[in-house]
């Protein structure tokens, strides 16, 4: 910020003080951009293949999933997509909670809930991809 005349007061005096201890927020900002670019290809590819090329949800059943995950390519695709999307989305929600939950206890609680949710979903999804058994009955 070099031009103070055109800088709004909210940016000169932001509500959240800079912690000064580390560059966590810088890396978080950078992560959103890097994971975002990768997700553009992974997620739009996934949506295009699933909803249009492969005929949409009408074609989906257990056998379809089994056929798909027989290929390591789709396993890796889905695993990468799961991790990046959950971390990208979790970090986005963290930013939103920081912006809108002004009460300290509410903010801590929501971020704790978010952390538990992200860890649970990432671990569950990873477990499912790695332990998928096409012959389960």
């Amino acid at each position: 910020m070099t031009d103070n005349l055109s800088t709004p007061p909210a940016l000169l005096n932001p509500r959240s003080a800079r912690s000064g201890k580390n560059n966590y927020e810088l890396y978080s900002w950078l992560f959103m951009r890097i994971s975002g670019i990768i997700l553009v290809f992974l997620v739009l590819g996934h949506l295009f293949i699933m909803n249009i090329l492969d005929g949409g949800v009408q074609r989906i059943n257990f056998g379809f999933v089994a056929g798909r995950w027989a290929s390591p390519f789709w396993q890796v695709w889905d695993l990468l997509q799961l991790w990046l999307a959950m971390l990208h989305g979790g970090n986005g929600l963290r930013t939103i909670i920081n912006d809108y939950a002004e009460n300290d206890r509410t903010r801590s609680f929501l971020k704790y809930l978010l952390l538990v949710t992200v860890v649970f979903i990432v671990l569950l999804g990873t477990l499912v991809i790695f332990t998928f058994d096409p012959n389960i009955s």
Partner: protein, 129 residues
């Protein structure tokens, strides 16, 4: 006090594209949460998975899917626009132009997208094959 000059994120296109980015982001996050849970049913039994997926094969869910694709597509295109604003030296200057460009791309992709995604539903609702 002099009026505060508009910045990239205060008012007009810059702010509303940011608002839409947040709303679509949150919506997609909650969908993803559900999507991992329903897919995890393949680890329970084929029957459990098939039962839940079967319940998705309705016109209402089909239109929700189109909404999801629209939300993801906006979030992706606007995300590219954000990256260009941050890293391209002329990004901030062209942020409005870029919003109109991504809006046009969104419409151009969503028209055939809507057609191919809802084809089955319309055939089912109004006869056909």
């Amino acid at each position: 006090m002099a009026p505060i000059p508009a910045t990239l994120y205060r008012g007009r296109e810059g702010m509303w594209s940011w608002v839409a980015h947040r709303i679509t982001g949150v919506a997609v996050f909650f969908f993803l949460f559900t999507h991992v849970l329903d897919t995890a049913l393949v680890r329970v039994s084929p029957k459990a998975y098939n039962t839940v997926i079967e319940s998705y094969k309705t016109p209402i869910v089909n239109f929700l899917e189109v909404g999801l694709v629209g939300a993801v597509l906006y979030h992706a295109l606007n995300g590219i626009r954000l990256i260009l604003i941050d890293f391209w030296s002329k990004g901030p200057k062209y942020h409005r132009v870029m919003l109109w460009v991504i809006s046009a791309v969104w419409i151009i992709v969503m028209i055939p997208g809507f057609y191919f995604m809802t084809k089955h539903t319309f055939e089912q609702m109004f006869g056909g094959n």
